[in-house]
Amino acid sequence: MVNCKYALFTGCVAKGAGRELLTATEAVCEKLSIELAEMTDASCCGAGVISEDNPMAADLLNARTFALAEEQGLDIMNICITCQGVHNKTKNKLDNNPEYKAEVNLELKRISGKEYKGVVKIQHFGQVILGDSVLEKMKNMVVRPLTGLKAGAFYGCYATRPHECSDLDNPDSPDEMEKIIEALGATPVDYAARLKCCGFPIIMMNKKNSLALSGNALNSAQNAGADCLITQCPLCHLNLDAYQPEIPGEYNMPIIHIQQLVGLALGLEQNELKMNTHIVNPAGILSQFA
């Protein structure tokens, strides 16, 4: 049996507009005997927005989160690739600048009595799945192989760029998500936009451009014959799914969190994974797997 435990950093969206992501994560991890301790006292990662106002405030928020996990004696599991990218960036900055780390720690201690030591590891759900024995175990537990489902991996910017903050072996042509898709019996679809931006960060600043970027991604995946897109970031999911009816062009492309795809193959039902909350209903393409 795989026996592992993580401090679960939910991020804000999995507690807000993407609660299905949290439900699916918990259900899948239970199946795989991955124990989760939700970090109920962790703050928002700042999403690269707080740092546009004040970089040190953003770093303090994340140093506090890291210190919380270290107190729990657990490594962090992220379920949002934006949180993962922002955490990686902060961790790099602190770990590579002892003077700055000391400055941040001094302030952190004053505020909360905590200290970021630098021992915590931070992984996204996808990395945990691909880790050591989990992948083999997961393959053996597939009771509903997704044979015939053509799934396009949509990585999310923070998964691949900047390269120094990426966890992928080859950020310019990764295959990590495709490995998971294959392990579940589905067929990964290669398409030009799989590493592109979904446009979400500017949805409030320039909706036209934001939705055009999402439209490019959908168009590229559709032309390559994808039945659905698989996301690791709930923000990509929001732009591609919740905004899809407003995206210029005719699309009916279901967008599925990677946790939901895993859950489906492991025998969980679509309702248990809250796939019925998606704006674009995936029931049609998944009817053969019901």
């Binding site: 299905e20 703050s43 707080i50 106002d53 909360s112 900047p162 600043m205 919740a242």
Partner: protein
């Protein structure tokens, strides 16, 4: 010796009805750069192949091209590092029209740069008796950004430019940064006001493509983040981007987490009726599916700790607001450098 195939984009609009790829097979000599490989193809196989080059030393910025889908400098890249499965695909840089083969029309790139007055505007046009001096610390603020060689790799791979060629683009925003942060420039505030308008600094999605492709220390995305910090410092907040940042700060500092019901309306402006109406369709769609964020927004457990981070915000500021003042003569405080040392 090992062989490599260069699969090169060919197009001569005067002759060809459409673009095509042509393969050139050559020996993969150890230590050969992609540019030297192309020179060899031209010298020994096909003199009609067109591409830009000059210095061969990553200084002039002429030889940017897309290799296996991403922009880079041909002279700064070892061919053997690229030759996966013995094949290298070479295309012209993106977001611009092709003139011939790998040569593109750079005019949109230059036109964008010209929009931000890419030159120093001093506080007086009188001839100074001495040179305009900077301290070492003042120079460090613009040290990285002045390494830009205008190769347009960032412009080529910018995701936003793919959908909107009015966007200023990464190199132009980096150039604006170079003068906003220059202690000798007198128009920092004006420059900030200009680039907070449509197509400017808030239209960047942070996709990171520009910094990843940049062959120098310019790293446009990091500079864009610094411009946004300067915008917030100068309190130029009558725009969606700044309101979004303020709203983000407000909700996280109050509860420790983002309130997704509050932020969209705060970003577009509470009195901006058309924009608020524009938010309705997605809100209704999500509500119908039960996907709307909970109406009661819960705080994290020890929210007091997060509140004190934000109440001490001023202490963490490295760039003091008085450096950039309205209608201004911009003087940068030497304290502002400590941030960059980080």
């Amino acid at each position: 010796m090992e062989k490599v195939t260069l699969k090169i984009f060919r197009y001569d609009p005067g002759k060809d009805s459409q673009p095509y790829y042509q393969n050139y097979i050559m020996e993969l000599e150890p230590g050969i750069t992609l540019l030297n490989g192309l020179n060899k193809v031209r010298a020994t196989q096909d003199a009609s192949l067109a591409y830009r080059m000059s210095c061969g030393s990553a200084i002039c910025g002429s030889c940017a091209m897309k290799v296996n889908g991403h922009a880079l400098l041909a002279c700064k890249t070892q061919l053997c590092d690229l030759a996966k499965n013995g094949l290298v695909q070479i295309d012209p840089i993106g977001n611009m029209e092709v003139i011939k083969d790998l040569v593109v029309d750079l005019e949109p790139f230059w036109a964008s740069l010209r929009k931000v007055r890419p030159y120093l505007v001093p506080d007086t046009l009188d001839n100074p008796e001495l040179e305009r001096k900077q301290t070492q610390k003042q120079f460090l603020l613009i040290d990285d950004v002045t390494t830009c060689i205008l190769c347009a790799s960032c412009y080529s791979d910018c995701n936003v430019l793919e959908v909107d060629n009015e966007f200023f683009g990464p190199a132009t925003l980096a150039k604006a940064h170079r003068f906003i942060y220059d202690s000798r420039d007198a128009k920092a505030y004006d420059r900030l006001e200009q680039i907070t308008e449509l197509y400017g600094v808030w239209d960047c999605t942070h996709c990171g493509e520009c910094s990843t492709r940049c062959p120098t220390e310019t790293k446009p995305m990091a500079r864009i983040e610094e411009i946004r910090q300067a915008v917030m410092e100068a309190e130029i907040t009558n725009n969606n981007g700044a309101r979004h940042v303020l709203g983000f700060r407000e909700t996280v500092s109050k509860s420790g987490r983002l309130n997704e019901n509050y932020l969209p309306a705060r970003s577009v402006g509470f009195f901006n009726i058309p924009a608020l109406l524009g938010l309705l369709p997605v809100g209704i769609r999500m509500f119908v599916k039960g996907k709307n964020p909970p109406l009661i927004h819960k705080s994290i457990e020890k929210v007091k700790e997060v509140k004190s981070i934000f109440s001490r915000l001023k202490k963490y500021r490295k760039i003091k607001p008085q450096h950039i003042t309205k209608g201004d003569i911009n003087r940068l405080d030497e304290d502002s450098i400590s941030e960059r040392k980080v």
